[in-house]
Symmetry: C2
Subunit: 626 residues, 2 copies
């Protein structure tokens, strides 16, 4: 094996924060056009350099007068003034209001010389060149003096102000076409590893290729934090190529982030480049995830190496790097919402370092919040969307009991927990019905595991084909689905049923034992065994591939389509969708069961209604019926 860097001394998380804070991420001033200023942060104080308004302005439609001429006037005894002209908004007055005269004036118009008040049109009568004013006015009535709103020299906005619609309004009033704002730190993102392919590219799975997840995830997170993300070409595990790309990124950006590879060789290469071309401030932080984090400088730029797994990379980015980007961009820490909830299950953890544990939230029947850990490990990208926030577990906390009160930091203040948390059987009709529920979360863990979790009280609903599970639950409705063997198009082997799998040399792809489909298959094998007067196990031992199980309802059929098996356990609707042949074996009932305490939750109610009114969904899928 090649030499590997081992991180024997993990530094405490505070040291990592300090190291990142010591880096220079830019944050100079740039001028941007007013239209592009939204969301940016003022770099300097803006003092008004003009009066707003720039002239004494009428705030009513009416007549500009000398207030003194109206003293004592009322409905019974109006003051009669000679109409000498008119002033409209946007024009220079061509009239002077001498004693005893008045000029028509529009809202927003310049007060003509001589006039010091405006009488609203409703309190006047105009006839034959004379205006009768039926009220007394004081000087300044219905006039906004020049500079009343903002006067030249006044402080208008301070440095550090985040520019939203209203600040942009004030800047417009001051006539600012450009605004000095803090530069956004530029962040170069380098993904490493020979195995990565950009989304949209062709993937050679047999050669172990996977799509690059970290580049796009981290780029989006950089922008959420107020930085500007630049994606650099992939670097393989070659030293010279890596050096060239890292140096180019360091040259062009304030901060270089590397991420993407979990392979030790890529990490080694980066480590060597940073050590030789720059300065490594620390490596290895006592936090889970994130142990192999690197922090340093590279050719005058800041450098942070993120862990390779997407959830780890994003968690570490949010906890350590995002605050530094916001700081450089001048943005305040977001008002991160925190939620208190109780652990839905117990959780053990005993590695003696801070754990940033991703968790999902679900509201229980009493409006309380249950918190459950979401950690599939091993780089699962679905964990990214199955969590709502993080519970920080202290290094000296080895155990969280079920029911224990914890504080969850939501990923953002706009995170809203799902209205419906469902688990259980994976089903094509269900996928479509869930489209009609607002913010559902559904984990296709199979019927058996779904029922187990419903019994344990975490999810709102479980979807099962396994018949009556014998637990207290509210039946929200269901449908039936035709299942059997998915075979190549045209059924070239003339498969007629399960007996062929036992008796002939055919390779099957099966589903796991948590799946409802598998249970139906095993029941059918048991019936066949009864017929033959033997045991089920004797039959299934004779089936090639009986133990080859794959995850989701379409997976066996896709293996058949790819030519790697002769038959796959599956649904008629999948065979139709993938243009494959189908040998029917039976029909199974899909039931949606709700936690009885939560049948009234809006999301649960929404799913019940979706099933009730789902005839269009059932009708559109072959082999699915109510």
């Amino acid at each position: 094996m090649s030499e590997r860097k081992e991180f024997h001394e993990l530094v405490p998380p505070e040291r990592a924060h300090e190291a990142i804070a010591s880096l220079d991420l830019g944050g100079e001033t740039e001028q941007v056009p007013l239209q592009a200023a939204r969301g940016r942060v003022l770099a300097e104080r803006i003092d008004a350099d003009i009066d707003v308004p720039g002239f004494d302005r009428a705030t009513m439609d009416g007549y500009a007068v000398r207030a003194r001429d109206t003293f004592g006037a009322d409905e019974a005894d109006p003051a009669n003034l000679e109409l000498v002209g008119a002033v409209h908004a946007g024009e220079e007055p061509a009239v002077v209001v001498e004693p005893g005269t008045a000029a028509e004036i529009s809202t927003g118009a310049v007060m003509p010389d001589g006039a010091d008040a405006v009488v609203m049109v409703e309190r006047t009568d105009e006839r034959d060149g004379t205006v009768a004013v039926r009220t007394s006015l004081a000087p300044g009535d219905n006039v906004m003096l020049a500079g009343t709103d903002v006067a030249a020299g006044e402080r208008a906005l301070g440095p550090g102000t985040e520019l939203t619609a209203r600040e942009i309004g004030l800047l417009s009033a001051l006539g600012r076409a450009t605004v000095p704002v803090r530069e956004r730190p530029t962040v170069g993102i380098i993904s490493t590893g020979d195995e990565l392919v950009r989304p949209g590219g062709d993937l050679d799975s047999a050669a172990g290729q996977i799509y690059d997840v970290n580049s796009y995830t981290i780029a989006a997170a950089v922008e959420e934090a107020g930085g500007e993300a630049d994606l650099y070409p992939h670097a393989g595990d070659d030293y010279d190529e890596m050096e060239r790309i890292l140096v180019r990124a360091a040259d062009e950006c304030d901060l270089v982030l590397s991420s993407g590879s979990t392979s030790a060789s890529a990490v080694d290469v980066i480590y060597r480049v940073v050590e030789q071309r720059g300065e490594l401030l620390l490596h290895g932080v006592a936090v889970k995830p994130g142990k192999p984090m690197l922090i340093g400088r590279l050719d005058g730029s800041a450098y942070v190496g993120l862990p390779g797994y997407p959830v780890s990379a994003l968690t570490i980015f949010r906890a350590f790097v995002a605050p530094a980007i916001r700081e450089a961009a001048g943005l305040p820490e977001p008002r991160t919402a925190t939620v208190r909830g109780s652990m839905a299950v117990e959780e053990r953890y005993d590695e003696g370092r801070l754990r940033l544990m991703p968790v999902g939230l679900v509201e229980d029947g009493d409006g309380g919040t249950l918190v459950y850990p979401v950690d599939k490990g091993s780089g699962a990208t679905t964990s990214l969307v199955e969590a709502d926030g993080i519970v920080a577990v202290d290094p000296d906390t080895a155990y969280l009991a079920a029911g224990e009160d914890v504080e969850v930091r939501l990923f953002s203040s706009e995170v809203r927990p799902p209205t419906l948390f469902g688990v259980g059987e994976d089903d094509p009709a269900l996928s479509r019905l869930l489209d009609r529920v607002e913010r559902p979360r559904y984990l296709g863990v199979g019927s058996r595991e779904g029922v187990r979790r419903l019994r344990n009280g975490v999810p709102d609903v479980a979807v099962t084909t396994a018949g009556d599970p014998g637990i207290d639950a509210v039946d929200l409705g269901g449908w039936a689905r035709e299942w059997g063997l998915v075979v190549p198009a045209g059924n070239p082997d003339d498969v007629t049923g399960l007996a062929d799998l036992v008796d002939r040399d055919l390779r099957l792809i099966n589903r796991g034992t948590d799946s409802g489909l598998r249970r139906s298959l095993d029941d059918a094998f048991a019936a066949l065994a009864d017929e033959r007067g033997t045991g089920r196990r004797d039959l299934t031992d004779a089936v090639d591939g009986y133990d080859l199980t794959v995850k989701a309802h379409e997976s066996p059929a896709r293996k058949v389509a790819a030519g790697s098996a002769d038959a796959g356990l599956g649904l008629r609707t999948t065979a139709v969708k993938l243009d494959l042949g189908f040998v029917p074996v039976g029909e199974e009932a899909v039931r949606v069961l709700a936690n009885p305490d939560r049948a009234d939750k809006p999301g649960v109610e929404g799913l019940r209604r979706a099933i009730e009114t789902g005839d269009d969904v059932f009708g559109a899928l072959a082999g699915i019926s109510r």
Copy 2:
């Protein structure tokens, strides 16, 4: 006067919401590149069409083995396997693991045929082509099976999902280079009125021109709501021009918003165009502000006319139009924060329609929130930034008592009330010191009004030059400033002091009676009157322009610079800044006084510290000293 539309029948606000909801604002589907998908909303369900991972993947660095070969192995009795090759991430295995053999494998690499488990390198010893495995493995150990993360056919993300970093991560993993998202409604913004000039353009104040505030404010608010704003050229009050621009905008956009003019003639023209080219659904809503709102259709697009004053336009936009834009863009209502607080002052209002009252917030000494109305009326743009949110006052509520509990809807969930709310004298050193406080709010209402408000308990601090105000307050510190008469450069009239204003034919520009400068001036006139054995009023009556007052500390000097006066009341520092002459009269002490209950507030403490350490500020300003 021209004919004017009167809105005699105001419809209730719910009718306006219904009318806007009946309009079609687009919301079709478009494909965007993954890099541009952040913040967008999925238009369709995304089912996985590949397995992730696409192959059985090693999750550890170590050796790929057949688990059966390790059964019973432990530290004392390792299983010795023949090393037959290596598999690295991103390459197709060139080796088959037969019974009794092992292959070196990297994290992320494809499991070679024959192998069903990975032993981590730490539990092995390799020597002379033999790997000693010091532990027993089960099939699947340290292997992530193909499709375990997401399997082809599984539901990955539902329609309506807002795309943040984590959803973008999942889409990357699925290899999606483009994403179907809801179109952003396009919103054409037309500002009307002959008097408007775009920011950056030359302003002819004498002709009543003002900068266009609404276009930029509303454009920013449209984008905050998830729409795409397009600014159209100004339309004057001419029917044909207005028709041409409105029709073009209707042709190009989903929604046309007009705003900008307060002039009745512009409103009349729009009204006629919409009536003749489209359909007016309603005009006049019983809400303050916003009475003259128009809602209709124009050549197949939606049309809304907003009131002319910026605060009114933004308030009505937020209350009525933004929700419709979000709905069309598929965005959820933002988690609008609401805050409860108590009215700091009483407020009367008796117009019998819903009032959306802009308010500012200030934290009192006990951590409670005080709420004060911010409504300068008359189109003041500063009200935009002086408010933190809205209190909706029912049509039948005519009076809110001081201390009454109200609910404030913040402008966004990220709004944070200022850490410091100050009022009082306008001062150049203060402007700079405030830059060192986080999120301060300061209203330059003058010394007298500032002290009055501090006494009433609303602000945290008052800044005054008026000496001891005789109220209970904590003195945070202060400085001195030299004041006098600002005269044209070179002092062409040889002004030597106040006596010249009385005795010679010189025109003065004064400050208002709330200003501390004015008080100092009046004190100096009183001293001069004493000297001459006469009354102060006798002297000031002889001063041309004594009653000509302007708003801020630089304003008189700027009038002098503009040639409209011979002398202005002001500061030495202003004269130096504007390259004008200066005739010193005296020095006044500026004191910063805090509400004694709030001296410990972070913002108050921050200002105290800024004064204490502000020698660089005082030193940089002529005529200012500690």
